[in-house]
Amino acid sequence: MSAVLIVIMAVPLGATVVSWWAGPRLAGLVTVLAGTATFGLAIALVPSVARYKNGSGAVGALGNWLRVDPLSLVFLLATAFLYCLTAIFSVGYVAADRAATRVYRRRLFAGLNLFAWAMAMAPMVNDLGLLWVAIEVTTVVSALLVAIEGTDGAIEAAWKYILIASLGLGLSLLATVVIYHAGSFSLGHSYDLSYTKLLGKASVFPAATVRLGYLLAVVGYGTKVGLFPVHTWLPDAHSEAPTPVSALLSGSLLATSFYAILRYYQITERAAGAAFARDVLAGFGVLTLLLGALYLASQRDLKRLLAYSSIEHMGILAIGVSFASPLAIAGALLHVLAHAAAKGTSFFGAGSVARKLRTKDLDRIRGGIGLLPWTGPMLVAGMLGLSAMPPFGTFRSELSIVAGGFAGGAGANTAEEAIAAVMVVLATLAFFGLSWHIGQSMLSPVPDSSPAVVKGETSRLMVLAMAFGLLGLVVLGVHPPAALDHLLNGAAAELGVDR
């Protein structure tokens, strides 16, 4: 199995090089092949990694420099799935864009592959320092991808993004240094920051130092997750980026940064107690969810609407992990996958609608479902998925989180029940906001005053990518494979609930 990790590391990187040098047609083909291969390989890892128990059974490679345990595999799966869908979508997206120059296509495909590579590396490396390096690479590549269209809005968004995210990552570098220092008391002055080493000794790390490192990590990486109050770059970057980039940013990048926080969470709960680690996440989670839910309703831009929905879902993730019950934590990890599928589908749909009607303005988008016979209904379904309606995976995951919050585990308390209740109220508020906008823009009749827009789809590949996304979302909701269940439970156990 260790060869699989090396291939996953090599494939997107190879695809980056080929798409930079090859013609646009070949670049698209290579990107699709690389995306599909990465997703297939990630799935191939599931059966063996799902058997992981109490620290043994992880798949390692290159002298354990790469290491995949259930927690990392969940995030790798989300990235690989979305990489595959985005590759298919972007071939159609670029082909349908008559203004796209050769240079633009080359840069977009190479950039997408490199971005996906960095996001896949982040959960695979077995080192707190290299994790930071991988996430910083995602920032640089994605900031350039946000700016790729060169419009005023794109450059403004990219500048805010790279500046705010880099400052945040500076704080997370400081967090890395602080945790290194905490480890030097028991691991000596020179050691590598591998998780196995850190987690083995974390219980004797000085608690105050680890607390400082954890707070720095939550705020620093939280900048890229989109946690309140360091989320301000997020709506701009998501709305101004080309659609394939928005989908990867929202469905995969935010979750990857959250993964980094979870690694610090593991250390903190051993060194400073689970209560502290949970309370911090619960606080940030509730405020983030509140912000997302309140801003959703007032959006006037289709892609900004989806961006605020991402903020809302990241709040839900943080709340899910902050609950003591294993059910809630497994639910939060399922939510990572379900959100990737739902947000990918919705962004693809939003991009198709925006291209068809030449506007992202929600006040001017009318009759979407009539104009785009496939994309329209699938976009509505995707947004219902984002509102956690059955039969979608998001329904299952949010239900698990709320049920876990109410049922409680070891150390459950009334505060958890209160947070679960608040989450239900805010998620319902978000549902109202989303469905109001879906109803207005998609389910309304086609206005007579727009004869210029011809009914019909722009590209079959764009439709296909959405269909795959929805399929994944339904599978996660109706009947997730047994191996995936094992994997999620294994990952939840790694977050300490069964110790």
Binding site: D127, G129, L130, W132, V133, E136, V137, T139, V140, A143, L144, A147, G150, D152, G153, I155, E156, A157, A158, W159, K160, I162, L163, S166, L167, G170, L171, L173, L174, V177, V178, Y180, H181, S184, F185, H189, S190, Y191, D192, L193, P206, A208, T209, L212, P235, D236, S239, E240, Y295, S298, Q299, R300, D301, R304
Partner: protein, 232 residues
């Protein structure tokens, strides 16, 4: 009857302590100099000077601990942070033909006062953290306080300067603060990680440069005043 000695007399600071503390405080003072500097070019040069101080700190530490990898780190820091990154930004400036920094959101005095306040916060925060100083010739703890203050004052610089060059320089100077912190508490971190961090800084520097250039091409200025279209 002899009276038991109640107070232990602290040992006088060594030359090593003095030199390293002075370098760490120099790094902090340079951020204050950046705050009042109105010429963009001079700001970039101040950054190069600050990086030189950080590299010197790594060199002094390497000499006292006889650690070869710290010399390598010092050398790489000089190449990247004293030469390459400033050169990239200076080249951009000569193409842009703009010399004056964008307007301050507040006056210089207000900014410096804010800087002093956040420095104090930085010093107080760090004084509560247990420091493992059992290593031979590790850096003195006040250097860590200076590093934390550098990070926070750089944040003030980024927030209250309204042009892309000052904001980028603010980010780089924050990174220098983190470097000092890592020299104090994690000096013997494996070199591969340090190289990774430096390489990332270079890549980020190039990306900052590309975006600054793109911004200048669209708006013919380096001011961030036009970057207020996206709201809500």
């Amino acid at each position: 009857m002899p009276v038991p000695l109640l107070v232990t007399v602290p040992s006088p600071p060594t030359t090593f302590d003095g030199v390293t503390e002075a370098l760490a405080v120099l790094v902090l003072l340079v951020v204050f100099a950046m705050m009042r500097e109105a010429l963009l070019r001079s700001q970039v040069r101040l950054y190069a000077f600050q990086s030189l101080a950080v590299a010197a700190l790594a060199g002094v530490l390497g000499a006292s601990q006889h650690a070869g990898e710290l010399y390598v780190l010092a050398g790489l820091s000089v190449v990247l942070k004293v030469v390459l990154v400033p050169a990239v930004v200076l080249r951009l400036l000569s193409a842009a033909e703009v010399d004056l920094a964008g307007s301050h959101r507040f006056g210089v005095a207000t900014m410096v006062l804010l800087g002093v306040v956040v420095s104090v916060i930085g010093f107080l925060t760090v004084s509560n953290i247990p420091i493992n100083s059992s290593g031979v010739n590790s850096l003195p703890v006040p250097a860590l306080s200076a590093a934390a203050a550098t990070v926070l004052v750089s944040f003030v610089l980024v927030m209250f300067r309204a042009d892309v060059v000052s904001q980028a320089v603010g980010f780089f100077s924050m990174e220098n603060g983190v470097s000092v912190a890592s020299l104090v508490v994690a000096a013997r971190m494996p070199l591969i990680l340090e190289v990774g961090f430096l390489f990332d800084l270079l890549v980020a520097g190039v990306a900052f440069g590309v975006l600054m250039r793109a911004h200048h091409r669209r708006s013919a200025s380096l001011s961030t005043e036009t970057l207020d279209q996206l709201r809500g």
